[in-house]
């Protein structure tokens, strides 16, 4: 299962954008890896990434089975990894 963010824009900010994007996916297979493809994406705020993971989790997707790909910018990649780790630890605690 792949979510190609470039279909929705180049810059992603705000939690409602993440909610919107996840709600547009009609079928989310729970036993597959969900690949979030950031090719051609210039930037995404940490809040957006966090909300995307949260919304996927609400749809039954284990955060551990979400993979990010196609991140061209090293700093953005670092920030995504940081937020991914934080979200996973919060998810496990709750």
């Amino acid at each position: 299962m792949r979510i190609e963010l470039r279909q929705f824009g180049k810059v992603f900010s705000g939690r409602s954008r993440a909610t919107e994007i996840v709600s547009m996916i009609t079928v989310l297979p729970l036993d597959e890896v969900v690949e979030v493809d950031l090719s051609e994406v210039e930037w995404a705020t940490k809040s957006f990434i966090s909300e995307l993971l949260f919304q996927l989790r609400n749809r039954g997707i284990d955060p551990e089975s979400v993979k990010f790909s196609g991140v061209a910018d090293a700093e953005l990649e670092g920030r995504i990894i940081e937020e991914f780790k934080r979200f996973s630890s919060v998810s496990q605690a709750s």
Binding site: V11, S50, E83, S94
Partner: protein, 274 residues
């Protein structure tokens, strides 16, 4: 001007006390008197613009006395201070490569702020840095919508930015419920004072919208902005909310009680353009 006219000037204290009075006892008229303004900073512009919108929203008659100083008049016009008010004003549009004019925040889809910021600062500073500056603008603007309203996701406010020399300044103002009010609304105060709430709000995972004291998926934006400001050389972030004030400078965050209570939340950030 009759006795029932509430007069506001451009100073922070006048706006703060004026908004409080306006909400307590609705006057028949409000006059925003800018005649004595010798300069207007981004923070002044954002709070005056919020005051204009609030007066209009409340259906109170509004009059505006423009600055006597011609350069201040022109600057206010250029920055969009009186746009949409029907007020005749000498609006001088100039190249906008050093500022973006006042923009109203009404939702959390502020990607256009990112684009604006990248366009204005992108020519002058490295790509990674401009993305972090723009990111900070978006996070702060989104927070106005999330937190400042009477209900979650209903806030509004204004953002404005200006470069002066080698510094980028941004102001974000709302007259909403403030940090404390946001926690009070969500019943997540947990016996903390207004100062404690403001200080805690800079921590990762701390948000009025996280139901548990152990954190949650909210509470990222402000912590990220603080981290960015601390990582800059001589960047500053000042947040005033209600009867609390926090200033981040040189890697330290200091929280204290300001001289007067402000309506909502006023944020001013300055970062160097390397």
């Amino acid at each position: 001007m009759d006795d029932s006219t509430l007069v506001l000037t451009h100073t922070g204290k006048s706006i703060a006390t004026g908004i409080s009075e306006l909400r307590k006892a609705k006057p028949s008229k409000v006059c925003i008197d800018l005649t004595e303004a010798k300069w207007l900073r981004t923070l002044d512009l954002a709070r005056i613009r919020c005051a204009i919108d609030l007066v209009i929203n409340l259906g109170v008659s509004l009059s505006i006395l423009h600055p006597r100083t011609k350069s201040v008049q022109n600057y206010a016009g250029r920055m969009g201070l009186f746009e949409g008010t029907g007020y005749e004003y000498p609006f001088q549009r100039r190249s906008s490569d050093s500022f973006f004019p006042l923009r109203r925040i009404t939702n959390d889809q502020n990607e256009d702020l990112f684009d604006l910021s990248s366009r204005i600062f992108g020519e002058r500073i490295p790509g990674n840095y401009v993305r972090r500056v723009s990111d900070a603008f978006c996070e702060l603007a989104d927070n106005v919508y999330f937190h400042s309203g009477e209900d979650v996701n209903s806030g509004w406010g204004y953002v404005v930015a200006q470069t002066v020399g080698a510094t980028a300044g941004i102001a974000i103002v709302d007259f909403g419920v403030g940090f404390y009010g946001s926690y009070e609304r969500q019943s997540t105060l947990r016996a903390r004072t207004e100062l404690q709430i403001l200080e805690d709000s800079f921590n990762v995972g701390e948000s009025s919208l996280n139901p548990s004291f152990q954190g949650g998926h909210r509470g990222i934006g402000l912590a990220d902005v603080l981290e960015f400001v601390h990582g800059t050389d001589q960047g500053t972030l000042e947040v005033r909310s209600g009867r609390a004030r926090a200033v981040a400078r040189a890697g330290k965050l200091a929280v204290g009680v300001p001289l007067y209570r402000v309506a909502g939340t006023w944020i001013h950030m300055e970062v160097p353009l390397p």
